[in-house]
């Protein structure tokens, strides 16, 4: 077990190193480096200035040398400086991580609260009208374009009914404290949470339904029924507990998005999270921010993959690690 986890950890570190170089390289292929941007914003710039700036930023060096330099400063704890916001990246990224964490946790828990009962219900009544309906609901969840869902929610709730704010993280310039501040944040959270949750509900319902169907066909279910257990006990204690196994994997994998955020949903709702930061920094060519948030999300995904495998082993003793 320990050797398995250790080996996977080493593999993960290698993959992160390779991927970060890959990211670094393709970022250099993007149009407009910082000096080009400066040239555009300052018509009086001389060619000597350009050359000096290029040396200053190290842009005259080949990509791999720049990568090594960047990686060594990163290891020393210096995340670099944001070109757009003119603040250190570490300062910038902290609050966004918290915002994203709040959003992803609330949408994940909402999704699980809705999806698991729905999935179990439709599995127990397989083939019924209700099953068809739940299935359609779930299929729509995995098929709907996230940006369009967000826009439709905005149209319905903020343009037509004026119930909720169309975007943002909290009311700008508010001086609220305590409960009022929390309520204000909550108001801005509702729409993004709803749209993110619906996207996850689709997947969760389908997994719950199929693994529940599988579990309820086992012989021990018949035994449990035969010895006169109540229907609730059969479903939840004998059926559902065994159906949970595959669900663990799916939920752990979706946990990987907890810090990387939902890029499109956050951008459409102008929610100040990591997803929006990644998008903005890529578009604005804010190199340091993009790389750091990239590495955070890749690392999270890989660690959660590992965690999913390990958890799976704990939940199902039949699986052995080699």
């Amino acid at each position: 077990m320990t050797t398995y986890i250790l080996r996977r950890l080493i593999q993960t570190v290698v993959v992160i190193l390779l991927l970060s170089y890959f990211c670094f390289y393709i970022m250099t292929l993007m149009p407009g480096d910082p000096v080009e941007l400066m040239i555009q914003s300052n018509p009086k710039i001389t060619s000597e200035d350009v050359a000096r700036l290029r040396t200053l930023y190290g842009l005259d060096q080949p990509a791999y040398k720049r990568y090594l330099h960047w990686a060594s400063t990163l290891v020393q704890g210096d995340l670099g400086y944001s070109r757009t916001y003119r603040v250190p990246v570490s300062e910038l990224i902290g609050s966004k991580l918290i915002n994203t964490f709040i959003l992803s946790m609330s949408s994940l828990s909402l999704a699980l609260m809705i999806a698991i009962p729905l999935g179990v219900l439709s599995a127990l009544r397989a083939g019924s009208k209700l099953d068809y309906l739940v299935n359609f609901f779930a299929f729509a969840g995995i098929s709907v374009p996230s940006f369009w869902l967000a826009i439709v929610l905005i149209i319905i709730f903020s343009v037509f009914f004026h119930l909720l704010p169309a975007g943002g993280t909290s009311t700008i310039g508010n001086e609220l404290t305590g409960m009022a501040a929390i309520l204000d944040r909550a108001k801005y959270l509702i729409l993004p949470t709803m749209s993110l949750a619906y996207l996850q509900i689709g997947t969760f319902v389908r997994y719950t339904r199929s693994s529940m169907l599988e579990a309820m066909r086992n012989d021990y279910i018949r035994t449990a029924k035969a010895k006169g257990l109540s229907r609730q006990a059969v479903i939840w204690k004998h059926g559902f507990r065994n159906a949970l196994l595959p669900l663990i994997t799916v939920v752990t994998l979706s946990l990987s998005g907890i810090f990387s955020g939902a890029l499109i949903t956050e951008s459409v709702f102008a929610y100040q999270g990591v997803g929006k930061l990644v998008y903005d920094s890529i578009i604005a060519n804010d190199f340091n921010v993009a790389m750091v948030s990239f590495i955070i999300s890749v690392t999270m995904v890989l660690i959660m993959n590992l965690l999913a495998d390990v958890l799976y082993g704990f939940a199902d003793p039949r699986i052995s690690f080699k």
Binding site: L19, L29, F147, W148, L263, Y279, S297
Partner: protein, 402 residues
């Protein structure tokens, strides 16, 4: 029991016997199982409908006479089912064209227009232009009824082109939304299908090599696959889409500028979509490798390529089909997301995604515009997902029967 009834029962058993003894080919069994999944059949119909629309888009354009690119700054954001007039200068151009084509008819028309004082004109030369400028199409048609029919008949088709009916209204540049949706179907569908097709090809190849040869080859290919699978897809797609292609040495010489954004889109999406198929193929090939018929083929001296292509691939295709079908839906979703962010298919080429590009600014002015393309994406992707689900049930004998 009468003799008649005896005969009837005997005939019935004979028919049943025939049914029982008659062997159904594989595809018929699959088809029968597939048709039991009602939603999958509906999905298939929807997909066929969209494919037909995509294929016949130029025909629809020719029949309706609507151009998806034609802009009309005077009629932006028209609601559905509205009629719009061409701007005056474009109407004048059409009249000029008509006069040059049929000078005699035009002269006759002008004369009778002045005679019957249907138009107030300073000079006879301007009669037609003034008519077009002063009256709307219905009034012109009325006027045409009062003058010699032959000349009027020739002018009426020109009048008819002045006005266009927009079933789904017009967009921010006054273009017909229906036509753009139809042409968008063409782009979005072909991107989706191409990505799925190529990723099936790449996945098949990589999965087969990894599964069949094993060893170092397998380890390397699978690590690459795992690494790509664990990437956060969307940020990567955005970076790739934002890449300046002029900085990539080979690409520029291979692709012309015409379809650049479509080719770029397909390439980028392909990079991130072959992995699931490769894993699936590898898995099936690993188990096929131990089967007797492969051993038999090897014993007979078949080459590796023969074994892989002739003996293994036919057994892999069926399960792969499901994955490919689901892949089309995913590719369409990613394409639309990237185009929505302005990084995918570049205007003026319409795609469902880039029609939503500035949908966010439009939600108060024209919510309808923001609604339609997304609905089409949803309908298509959900159809592909149901189709995949139906195929899975039909192909896999162990699947739960509904």
């Amino acid at each position: 029991m009468t003799a008649d009834k005896m005969n009837e029962t005997r005939q019935l058993t004979a028919k049943e016997k025939h049914d029982l003894e008659h062997v159904l080919p594989m595809w018929k069994i699959v088809w029968q199982q597939f048709t039991e999944h009602r939603m999958a059949v509906i999905g298939l119909c929807v997909i066929i409908f969209f494919v037909l629309i995509a294929a016949f888009a130029p025909v629809i354009k020719a029949v309706t006479g609507l151009d998806p690119e034609a802009q009309n700054p005077l009629s932006r954001y028209q609601p559905p089912l509205s009629r719009t007039m061409l701007p005056t200068d474009q109407r004048n151009d059409k009249v000029l064209e008509f006069e040059n084509m049929n000078p005699n008819v035009a002269a006759e028309l002008r004369k009778s227009l002045i005679e019957k004082s249907l138009v107030q004109s300073a000079s006879e030369e301007d009669a037609l232009y003034d008519l077009v400028a002063q009256k709307n199409t219905d009034e012109i048609r009325e006027a045409m009824k009062l003058i010699p029919t032959e000349a009027a008949d020739k002018f009426l088709p020109v009048v008819n082109t002045f006005e266009t009916m927009h079933v789904f209204g017009t967009d921010e540049l006054g273009r017909d939304v229906l036509m753009r949706l139809i042409y968008g179907t063409r782009v979005s569908m072909s991107v989706g299908l191409m990505v799925a097709f190529f990723s099936a090809f790449v996945g098949l190849l990589i999965g087969a090599v990894a599964g069949y040869y094993g060893g170092v080859m397998d380890a390397v290919l699978m690590r690459v696959t795992d690494a790509l699978l664990s990437l956060p897809t969307l940020p990567f797609l955005i970076v790739m889409a934002a890449i300046d292609l002029n900085k990539v040495p080979l690409f520029k010489s291979l692709v012309g500028s015409e379809n650049e954004s479509i080719v770029k889109m397909v390439t980028i999406l392909l990079l991130f979509s072959w992995m699931t198929i490769a894993l699936l193929v590898r898995g099936s090939i690993l188990s096929l490798r131990e089967r007797e018929f492969i051993l038999a083929a090897k014993t007979l001296g078949a080459k590796d390529s023969t074994i892989i292509f002739r003996h293994m691939f036919p057994n892999v295709i069926a399960p792969m089909l499901v994955s490919v079908t689901l892949g089309v839906g995913n590719a369409i979703l990613f394409e639309s997301a990237l185009s929505f962010l302005g990084l995918g298919i570049q205007p003026p080429t319409p795609s469902w995604g880039n029609m939503l590009y500035n949908a966010q600014e439009l939600i108060s002015e024209a919510p309808f515009l923001a609604f339609l393309p997304g609905l089409l994406i949803l309908a298509t992707v959900i159809s592909f997902n149901y189709l995949g689900d139906g195929l899975q049930d039909a192909i896999d004998p162990k699947a739960i029967r509904r």
